[in-house]
Symmetry: D2
Subunit: 350 residues, 4 copies
């Protein structure tokens, strides 16, 4: 076996990254080593790459970043029981401690001692990576590597939609990034009656529409869209999936939510903002649900069914597939506005 591998490393506490040769890691007793087949770029990776305030406060260089991936298991630690060499896996990226209150009560994904792959420890933007056994999800050998890699963010969307009871309801999905686009497809497949999609980028709004949104609203261009939605729905949508999280998005979301509606909050604002709790939550008798990660592993079983039975085709969300050697180019594309992107996949030579 090779001893060296190509890896995308955040070397210093500044913008950028380097694609360099480094040692192939050795799995701990409860980890496996995978040969990465594909990985994909998440919004989190952009924060790390551009070194924004959040990244500066959380990331400890030097480290390999990245967390969305799939690969083949080529070595297993001594105490690994249920994963074997040759298995084709994707990684759940929330690494739980397994003994805190959250872990012991069905919420490992919100572990009190949570370690996130590619954020709090070395990640998977590399030819090889170690993954804790608890985070391995076995794929069917027939699954395309691009799809296998995006199951993690697809799972965010599955979790968001599943907690929101969208069936037979008129809903709004606020945001137009890859997870919002997945959510459009999943919500439609789960029986959402009508989906308003609010976004800002024509390229991405189009993807959301392909995935299942009936109405695309470019909030930069349209006027009075709040009133339009309220009128068409006779008082507001039943459910809002907030995949954006910033103040204008939240304001839009609550403005168009009917009384007794459900607001599911997945998107993250970079900072606190002014919020009208009395009118948004109390007077409406609304229910707000915070979503982070994926239920381990109920969400994965759900996404397996959704993909196996072809309830949703995630392919329209994959805007670019590039070789891993072009990682820096891909990253630059992801963080610039020169070329519109949605989900970018990086593949290894197979």
């Amino acid at each position: 076996m090779a001893k060296k591998m190509l890896a995308a490393i955040k070397k210093e506490a500044t913008a950028g990254a380097e694609l360099v040769e480094t040692d192939i890691p050795t799995p701990n007793s409860d980890e496996v080593l995978i040969k990465v087949k594909a990985c994909s770029i998440c919004g989190t990776d952009k924060h790390i790459y551009t070194w924004d305030a959040w990244a500066a406060s959380r990331i400890k260089p030097p480290m390999i970043f990245g967390h969305e991936c799939c690969g083949e298991v080529i070595e297993v630690g001594a105490s690994v029981k249920n994963i074997a060499v040759g298995d084709y896996i994707s990684a759940e990226t929330h690494i739980p401690c397994r003994h805190c209150y959250q872990c012991k009560t069905g919420n490992m994904h919100l572990c009190n001692n949570l370690v996130i792959l590619g954020v709090d420890r070395d990640g998977i933007f590399a030819e090889y990576a170690t993954i804790p056994e608890i985070c391995c999800w076995k794929n069917d050998k027939s699954m395309p590597i691009e799809i296998a890699s995006i199951q993690e963010p697809f799972g965010n969307a599955v979790y968001t939609v599943m907690e929101s009871n969208v069936s037979a309801k008129r809903i709004a999905i606020v945001g137009d990034g890859p997870i919002a686009a997945f959510a459009c497809g999943i919500a439609k497949a789960m029986g959402a009656a009508y989906i308003y999609n609010l976004g800002m980028m024509p390229f991405n709004l189009d993807i959301c529409k392909k995935m299942g949104a009936q109405v695309s609203i470019n909030v930069f261009k349209e006027k009075d869209y709040r009133q339009r939605i309220i009128d068409e729905t006779n008082g507001g949508v039943d459910v809002v999936l907030d995949m954006a999280g910033n103040k204008p998005a939240v304001d839009d979301g609550f403005a168009i939510l009917r009384s007794t509606g459900t607001y599911t909050s997945f998107g993250l604002a970079p900072a606190p903002f002014e919020f009208d709790m009395a009118n948004n939550i109390v007077f409406k008798g609304a229910n707000i649900i915070g979503i982070n990660g994926r239920k381990m592993f109920e969400t994965w079983y759900q996404l397996k069914n959704i993909l196996d039975y072809k309830l949703v085709d995630p392919n329209p969300v994959i805007s670019h597939v590039m070789p891993f050697k072009d990682f820096i180019k891909a990253m630059e594309m992801a963080v610039s506005n020169d070329v519109p992107t949605s989900k970018i996949i990086l593949t290894m030579p197979q």
Copy 2:
């Protein structure tokens, strides 16, 4: 206005019915009078027509039976506020008292003093009928009368599916009558990943398949289907919708239900039967949900969305549309096995 109307009357406590002229009824102060546009035949009507043990114990002839219908409001009682002459309505058939515990806590459909249209009082197999305002559901004028008439049984299926959380799950629908067929369509539209349909009649199994079931199992002909389902689902389906209710159906249903699964019980057995509560419910940690009627009116809003946004096309379930003057012929067809039937609609001259 005419003073006489044609109506299907159960004259005596014996099998059969008569289509005769009788007085057009006068609405009470809280009722409306409708000119019936279409009505449809329910399993309950067959019990009344054939005068089985249940009918003999419940029905007090002479009376007009039938409860699935739509029509135009041509007169309103003095205290009616929200329904007007000219409105095109369908009837919710559970008439609540509005002041018992169930009515005051959101469960009018299970009113402690429940009166059922066409069962406990005169129904709608007639050219005109009175409907309590509380039971009127306004239709859009553009809705075809056949669809408007079958919303009541369609609503049974909507309620059953909605209580069962079928999204992204593998489920079984036991039974192949019209409501089972609707349930196949609705479950598929609400994101059921895979639907096994167990029935007995090839004609009806075919309709269920058209509506959305992936697998049709004729329990009279196939062998080892329980094991097949358990194997294919790696331990049993997540949800069983029991639209049949008889002992073989219930035995099938629990045999193929996985641990921690949901069993939703809508079908009615004519009598008690031997049941293994320890293995079916306790050891499995299963959840059983009894379904009767439709939530008033949450279910109706849901079915409106399902039909308005074309999530389900109920037409394949309508096997026959006949003029109301052929009511007896239709009824004979419904209760015999000579011609296979699913939902039979009777229309008035428009």
Copy 3:
């Protein structure tokens, strides 16, 4: 019967009120007329009395205000069916339209056309008052009038606690007004394992403690109470009941809420404020539930059981019982800080 009655009237759009003689009202066909036995002062009444910004935007003088009451029915409108002369009732104060989406789906208390007694129409600070039949709750004749009058705010607390699943959990109740105090008693009775109560007024904190709080925290005087609670609960309380709503209260509430906890929001802030949705809701996977009014009438049945079976004694919350003729004095006491108050009851000569 008398033709005139004493009533507390908000005559003009300015602070204060007058206790004057006016005509006894006549009930509409769907209303009853009650001879008021007792009424009580709510925070809303203080806003109206002091004429703050909210009152100025909502109240249309001249009008009789007040909404918490009990009384004897002395006349019923023509279409009233389930309430009779002689009945001893309390009033639900949310008057629903009965035909909007909320009303038709079990949420009358959040009616889209909601009219509030003593806010949007004449209320009950008077010797006689009209109450819609739908809002009448029959009391047992043996219920003390002070208790009968405070069932409405007690119901707010019941609804808040019941939605929050406090059983066997460590919780915090933020706020120390009468409804917070009721909530302490109800939460304790419903099996809350340990209750932290955060407030500002020693008099009111003491009442909350009498009602069931184990720990009283005066947020003006104590330091590091957030860390203390987090330490003692090993990561934060399971549930926060926010009965205050202002920014410091909300900040406290979320600071001490553990991941995957429930935050139930009843208190109302006078204006929007800066809120950290990412950390408070998303990263925590928290659930926020808005509470307004009382479920009609599930909450009333619950509070009936709570009072009938003596699960909670609300008497410690009643700080003052005064004759109705001293209404202005009572109101002044309520809005000043000269004498500490909790719930003030005004009684009529019996």
Copy 4:
């Protein structure tokens, strides 16, 4: 350390057991060895001791039986991480595989490959026992050993009550054994408004009453108790906790359950029996919840709060505390009717 220990062994496939010397077991790498401090007798142990049909079909002698216990950890396996020598633990008795669907989705207690301590492998009626780390629950050193031992069956009652939403409701608890008695105490502590307890043994009914039941009904002696309950509750109780499971108990339970009520099924009937699904479940719109084991470990956290904060005192249920050397005598007492018993504890010399 000693090499031999006293243990209660089921030697052969016949009634009885023997208290003999045998080897102290060696823990596997994922197990701990405890020095048992106390153990207690469960109904399951009586089935094994008397060798009924169930025992004959499930138990493979020779084996040590028993599963309720507490003890001190004196040795830990190589891969044990979170339990240390000196820890004072009680045992969860459902040993999960940790990789099946149930284990991976928050239902380890209903593992598809479930192994039960003292049923499917050697148990704890012995001076020493091995316990898988995953099944260890750390107790506070100050907890009395009798209480520590009965946390497992107490947990059954906690799980049953917690799934049933008893707060502010009138309920019935059917059965009068130790777990029914615990349930009476827990339900009362969780805010059940009124508890009817149906049983057969005066000694045990008395314990249930001490624990919190308001009304004791000896079904062998009283007449018309079903109608009495229905009348007093104006239509039936809101919730039935079935801790008995046999046909007369189930018939009683459904007869006194109101429409839209919850029936929680924990008791086990030895065989199937005739059941009226249409009237018991469908027409009532009832919800049936099967309970088996304890949620791992949500139930344990709940019971910890219940005991730590003294919401329930389980002591009245402990009818006998005897030295372990009298095991056979205790077992004979448990299975005979000569002396009435509830929970019997066996203690080791401390």
